[in-house]
């Protein structure tokens, strides 16, 4: 029967760590691909922005509005970024419950028989011995994988640098 120490040594920890690492790498790749795809969609999705309104109050008190031509801006230009996540921590918890039981049982049965007759006698002794030894072992194991993800800044060169040059004529100061 394997010892408790051997049972612990038999836990396939290297395999578990390898599989966890490969799983994390695969998940990280999928997350990154999804974030890059989201960045592309955000760059392709545009909204119309009217950068300026002019409100004119005429001498007779009527008010008119004039909007400048709308410009198209992508959601990335507006300020939406895909969020990148990174696995920051991973742990494996293995719990084993090993129970061993040994029991032995010996039964001895002795019987004697004797008879005496005319000019002869006989005697017999009978001994039955049975010996049972039982080994029982229960091994229960559970493993728990735990990962922690944190948002990280996007790669610095994934977005173009945007410079806004505002050529609007500043509104005249309000009159007295």
């Amino acid at each position: 029967m394997a010892s408790v120490g051997q049972e612990l040594l038999d836990v396939p920890l290297p395999d578990m760590v390898t599989k966890l690492a490969l799983g994390i790498a695969e998940a990280q790749r999928a997350l990154d691909e999804n974030s890059v795809e989201t960045a592309q969609i955000l760059a392709d999705t545009t909204i119309e922005v009217i950068p300026a309104f002019t409100q004119t109050i005429a001498a007779n008190g009527t008010i008119t509005f004039e909007a400048s031509d709308p410009v198209e801006m992508s959601l990335i230009q507006v300020g939406l970024n895909p969020t990148f996540y990174q696995f920051a921590e991973a742990s494996i918890e293995v719990t084993m419950d090993i129970k061993t039981t040994t029991s032995s049982e010996t039964n001895i049965k002795v019987s004697a028989k004797a008879s005496v007759g005319f000019a002869c006698w006989s005697a017999s002794v009978r001994v039955d011995v049975s010996h049972n030894r039982k080994f029982q072992k229960e091994v229960r194991g559970t493993s728990r994988l735990f990962t922690k993800m944190v948002p990280v800044p996007p790669p610095p060169r994934i977005f173009p640098e945007i410079t806004v040059i505002d050529n609007r004529v500043p509104a005249p100061p309000p009159g007295p």
């Binding site: 999804n34 989201t38 969609i41 999705t45 300026a52 939406l80 970024n81 895909p82 505002d166």
Partner: protein
């Protein structure tokens, strides 16, 4: 993963509202293309939302404060414009 996040969701063939609701989220902004929405949903729903048959793409997004500030200033939504 804990908390709620802002998601950009692209529906497959139609608006993804039902999928967002099924994931416990809420559509917060609709864009000109009805298949594209911004939604707030629990982060735990990320995987389920991405794999929903009615969703072509779901990705967490965040607001770049500096860039959004420039945009707000451009369209006159920033506080300094309001005061003048």
């Amino acid at each position: 993963m804990e908390g709620r996040s802002l998601f950009f969701v692209l529906g497959r063939g139609g608006p993804p509202d039902a999928a967002v609701r099924a994931a416990g989220g809420q559509v917060v902004t609709r864009l000109a293309d009805p298949r594209r929405v911004l939604a707030v949903a629990p982060l735990e729903a990320y995987g389920g939302l991405s794999k929903h048959p009615a969703v072509a793409l779901a990705g967490p997004v965040s607001i770049d404060a500096q860039r959004f500030g420039s945009f707000a200033k451009l369209v006159g939504l920033d506080a300094s414009q309001q005061e003048t």
